[in-house]
């Protein structure tokens, strides 16, 4: 039986009940985690949010709340929305680069195809000089 208070109850200076909503997600060895979340959301809101979720989803919810709280503390104006903005810009740039690169591939591929056809025609013409019926692809015809 663990009688030690969780980080939340320590922070809130209250007894930590056996069914404390915070205890599984805010262990006493990481007080900063709850302090962060409390600063942005408040204990009451965090408690309500966790209680409204099924138990198996609460870990992820607590983690995401902690992440967003950290972002907001680091960037009080934009929070994690600043990160979203940055990612959107990067996606836009990457899409443009990809489109450019694919267009260049198309150009290179076309020019390679045209050059190959040119070569074939060129070789065909060379083979036909002095040889009306024999196919020019046979190298023996060149040494006559």
């Amino acid at each position: 039986m663990n009688s030690e208070r969780c980080a939340a109850c320590k922070y809130l200076r209250r007894r930590c009940p056996s069914d404390c909503i915070f205890a599984p997600y805010f262990p006493s060895n990481n007080p900063q985690r709850f302090a962060c979340v409390h600063k942005i959301y408040g204990a009451s809101n965090v408690g309500k949010m966790l209680q409204q979720l099924p138990t198996h989803k609460r870990v992820q919810a607590a983690n995401s709340l902690y992440y967003e709280a950290q972002c907001r503390i680091q960037d009080p104006v934009y929070g994690c929305v600043g990160i979203i903005s940055l990612l959107l810009q990067q996606i836009h740039k990457a899409e443009n680069q990809l489109a450019k690169t694919q267009a260049e591939i198309a150009v290179l591929s076309n020019s390679h195809t045209q050059d190959s056809q040119f070569q074939q025609n060129f070789l065909l013409q060379q083979g036909n000089v002095g040889q009306s019926s024999r196919p020019s692809t046979q190298p023996s015809s060149w040494f006559k």
């Binding site: 995401s64 967003e68 009080p76 929305v81 940055l86 959107l88 740039k93 990457a94 591939i105 290179l108």
Partner: protein, 164 residues
């Protein structure tokens, strides 16, 4: 403001809306939903503290981002904005891979072109112009416990007027 019409915050909180109310410029009375969402997720007291810690010219953007985060949390009570971040990071990774493949393809094509040509058709300097550096800027890495791709979050609806 000439009249004493309370802002959306003070209406919801059922209090008198002071002349210097910190919420009034950002939560007009004609949009009660905006403050309701922010209050539900963050709490009026926390929002007030956050705004007061910022200079006045930063507060509008802060409110916009708080509203966005609150909406995201309401839509996805488990992951909130982190779901969107995870989704977008996956997109960046995929695009990087596609770009790498495309650039490798260019190199292959160029290598195929060079030994075959009987007469030089392409200027080598033009070749080099096609060699793209990988200019993809670094994206933020973060250790997220979630890896959910949010199909419901469409890019065009994510960011309205926050990005300046």
């Amino acid at each position: 403001m000439g009249g004493n019409s309370p802002c959306a915050s003070c209406k919801l909180l059922r209090r008198r809306c002071a002349k210097d109310c910190v919420f009034a410029p950002y939560f007009p009375s004609d949009d009660p939903h905006k403050f309701a969402i922010v209050h539900k997720v963050f709490g009026a007291s926390n929002v007030s503290k956050m705004l007061q810690e910022l200079s006045v010219h930063q507060r509008a953007d802060a409110v916009s981002s708080l509203v966005y985060e609150a909406n995201a949390r309401m839509r996805d009570p488990v992951y909130g904005c982190v779901g969107a971040i995870s989704y977008l990071q996956n997109q960046v990774s995929q695009l990087q891979m596609q770009l790498a493949v495309a650039q490798a393809e260019i190199l292959c094509i160029q290598m195929q072109n060079e030994p075959v040509m009987p007469t030089p058709q392409m200027d080598p300097e033009d070749d080099k112009s096609f060699l793209l550096q990988n200019n993809l800027p670094q994206y933020l890495n973060f250790a997220s416990s979630s890896n959910v791709i949010h199909d419901s979050l469409k890019r065009e609806s994510i960011f309205g007027d926050i990005i300046s």
